[in-house]
């Protein structure tokens, strides 16, 4: 229910920002919400696509590289992901979820498809918590600092939440979400009973939610 309220809020924000955009053509794309930008992409704005790319390309490449484990293939997935956004923006429906959920799902599915076509093993995916500071992760000057800081904060919150999970529970989540493995495939790969995998998945999602709530994560 909370998500429904959120999407309603998004719709209101879209209308509000659309009006503002019509009134001020000089509005800087980088300052617009994802939903406004994807609407502009649907209308053929390459500048809006570029703004979304600048905002999420590093995350998309991170997801791709985590799944595939190969830089070149991951870059191909990156380009294909945003190409899909360019060609399919008209099909995006804000009421069915945030733009990032849509974007990351595209990237994940493309990466899993690419991974399945290859034999390259996935690499270790998450950075160790505490291995670097926010300042060390700051991007090059010229990018939107507030936005990047927010992104880094989210990254640390999720990593800390994942780090709080027992290793075997985290393993199930990673195998299912990032590698697209089915329950049976996970059970076979880990030499565990299917029931055990069910329990670990349920507990992992539950624990992850609690940790994210505790850290006041805002997706």
């Amino acid at each position: 229910m909370a998500r429904n309220k959120n999407t309603t809020g998004i719709s209101v924000r879209i209308n509000s920002e659309s009006s503002r955009l019509r009134a001020h053509n000089e509005t800087v794309p980088e300052r617009l919400s994802d939903e406004i930008l994807v609407t502009q992409v649907a209308q053929g704005s390459s500048a809006a696509l570029e703004a979304l790319y600048d905002r999420y390309a590093s995350t998309v490449l991170g997801i791709s590289l985590k799944v595939i484990g190969d830089q070149a293939s991951a870059e191909d997935v990156l380009q294909e992901t945003f190409w899909r956004v360019w060609k399919s923006a008209v099909t995006y429906q804000p009421q069915r979820g945030s733009f990032t959920s849509w974007l990351f799902r595209i990237a994940r599915n493309l990466a899993i498809d690419s991974y399945r076509r290859q034999t390259v093993r996935p690499q270790e995916v998450y950075m160790e918590v505490g291995s670097d500071s926010i300042l060390e992760e700051m991007p090059d000057p010229g990018t939107d600092v507030a936005e990047q800081t927010q992104s880094i904060l989210k990254n640390r919150q999720v990593r800390q939440a994942l780090a709080s999970l027992p290793r075997l529970q985290r393993q199930v989540i990673e195998m299912a979400y990032f590698y697209g493995m089915t329950r049976q495939e996970i059970a076979e790969a880990t030499w565990e009973a299917l029931g055990t995998i069910h329990t670990r998945a349920r507990l992992a999602v539950q624990k992850l939610r609690e940790e994210l709530d505790r850290e006041e994560f805002e997706g």
Binding site: M1, A2, R3, G44, S46, L49, E50, Y53, A57, S58, T59, L61, G62, I63, L65, K66, E75, L78, Q79, F82, W83, W86, K87, G97, S98, T100, S101, F104, R105, A107, R108, V125, Y126, M127, P139, K154, N155, Q157, V158, R159, A161, L162, I173, A176, Y177, F178, G180, M181, T182, R183, H198, A201, R202, A204, V205, L208, R209, L212, F217, G219
Partner: protein
């Protein structure tokens, strides 16, 4: 609650089910709102996972390649749009001619309706004229009936004129002076209001003698058979006056015709 399907819910949120399993869960969710809410919360949690991945700054060439591809596509779209312009112009012409044709058809229909109204009106006029012709034929028949004894060689025509009261009146009296009847043809006399009538008088120095009541049509024309106990040639003047309905023994109203014979 179906325990088997409930076990699938976390994997549904993680998007890690087979197609068959996914369909099974989705059918279940439509009938179990509490399970749907549970899945929505799980999906919300799972949507945070991408943020936990170490971001990797893409090389500049990746963005350049993407934007070049996008620019080429945008250009192709613009070309396609420009090529479709003539067809839009054609459509505009088609619309214009379609509108023009409709307007022409509407005018034609209106014209036909007006023509039909005019034809109907003319038919009514013809019918009225036929009635008048029939009436005048009847009058002529009467005249012919009353003139068998007339010798055509003795017939004279006397012109009649209106007085100052009705100066536009003109008429002729076709008469054999030795006959007791004559034909009066008159025009320019307005139709009288109800209760009034024209009365024809023959005068010979003394008191006028009534020769009958005259009626005219809506065109102010009338044909009247003048009859007298004496021969017409014994009178030297013909007069027409306006009298009360039914006529008067002597002229009492305006005299509209007063002509010597």
């Amino acid at each position: 609650m179906d325990k088997h399907i409930e076990e699938l819910l976390p994997f549904y949120a993680l998007d890690a089910l087979t197609d068959e399993e996914r369909e099974l869960v989705e059918r279940y969710l439509t009938e179990h709102p509490e399970a749907r809410q549970q899945v929505e919360e799980m999906a919300h949690t799972v949507s945070a996972l991408p943020y936990g991945v170490a971001t990797v700054e893409p090389p500049r060439r990746a963005k350049e390649a993407l934007m070049a591809r996008v620019a080429a596509d945008a250009e192709a779209r613009a070309r396609s749009s420009a090529q479709s312009q003539p067809s839009r112009r054609v459509n505009r012409f088609e619309n214009f001619f379609r509108t023009f044709s409709l307007a022409t058809a509407a005018v034609a229909i209106l014209w036909v309706i007006l023509l039909n109204i005019q034809v109907l009106r003319l038919r009514n006029e013809i019918s009225a004229l036929n009635d008048r012709v029939a009436a005048q034929s009847e009058s002529l028949d009467q005249i012919i009936t009353n003139l068998p004894q007339t010798n055509p060689s003795n017939v004279i025509t006397v012109s009649l004129k209106g007085t100052e009261v009705q100066p536009q009146v003109q008429g002729q009296l076709i008469v054999d002076p030795e006959s007791q009847s004559a034909v009066l043809v008159i025009s320019g006399l307005p139709q009288l209001q109800a209760g009034k009538t024209y009365q024809v008088w023959l005068i010979n120095g003394g008191a006028p003698v009534s020769a009958g009541l005259l009626t005219v049509d809506e065109n102010g024309q009338g044909v009247f058979i003048v009859t007298s106990e004496s021969v017409i040639g014994s009178f030297n003047t013909l007069g027409i006056s306006i009298e009360p309905e039914g006529g008067s023994p002597q002229p009492t109203g305006d005299i509209v015709v007063f002509s010597e014979l």
